[in-house]
Symmetry: C2
Subunit: 178 residues, 2 copies
């Protein structure tokens, strides 16, 4: 059994898509998703807009679930010790919303296995699945970079492009005991 | 510089006193604080009452600050990497309240250094200051048991009875680099 730390935004929750959807609805402008590629998160939107939208009540509560994440996370919890680790502290309103979101979409995750933090340097696990270099860089276990538009230029990590590849990684590497 | 994980309830926040105060106000009965000694947390109150009170809106927002904690935590942050680690996930309403409480009483703590979790087994640090055996038992660093009425029978840990003793521990042991 391995301990796996899994990020929420852009990993379990499709934050990028939600940002584009909410922007289109609020500002009446459709942004080509390709404009999100290879640039810092949110910077394809007019300056300050992503920052503003992320702080609106309900934003985090209504993010769509990332394709395939429910099935694969559930399968992982049956063989491993799974912790959901989200840098929620930067967005205080998101705390309750993220917990409600998890309870709705991932009801098989116990409150004991949820961590809302700021810096993830304090997290000890065997694997970390995350879309941000800043979270993976100091991690002492095996980092897995979950592909997101903003991290396409990164080459320093083993990459998983979707949840099928996460499932395959743990199956192919026969991760049982660590 | 050492990394120190500090618990909130009964360590930075005087939960025991607050429970007695709120109980006296709501139920009109003053409980002798000594009845809290040597029994599981909250069990000196009629059955289910502590559980009920801890789930009321505002409970965690209004807990008094533990004597001496502000000065000593501030001094520790100047020499060490301090993380506030609270098992807040058990009480969903407490998430926002605990963050507001920290921002009011410990404004020098960055959101980057706050962790709200369930199980603390995932926390990696050099020292953990906590009042619960369940949190200290699996900790790989040096555990420090902060004295609380419910933990008086415990003998397995180095004990700190108050924040003066926490300050003395780090001074006497000359904790600089780990």
């Amino acid at each position: 059994m391995a301990r796996i730390a899994i990020d929420m935004d852009n990993v379990m929750a499709d934050l990028t898509q939600h940002l584009l959807d909410v922007y289109a609805k609020e500002y009446g402008e459709v942004i080509d998703p390709e404009r999100m590629n290879n640039v810092p998160e949110g910077s394809a939107l007019p300056e300050g807009v992503a920052h503003y939208l992320l702080r609106q009540p309900g934003f985090f509560r209504n993010i769509p679930v990332m394709a395939g994440s429910q099935e694969v996370v559930k399968a992982l919890t049956e063989k491993h010790e799974v912790f959901i680790v989200s840098a929620a502290m930067e967005f205080p309103l998101s705390l309750a919303e993220k917990l409600e979101w998890l309870n709705e979409h991932f009801p098989f995750i116990s409150w004991r296995n949820i961590v809302f933090c700021g810096s993830k340097t304090i997290v000890e696990a065997d694997y970390m699945i995350d879309d941000h270099d800043k979270n993976l860089a100091s991690f002492k276990g095996t980092p897995l970079l979950f592909t997101a538009p903003h991290n396409l230029p990164l080459t320093a990590y083993q990459r998983v492009n979707n949840w099928e590849e996460v499932a395959a990684f743990f199956a192919v590497n026969n991760v049982e005991a660590v």
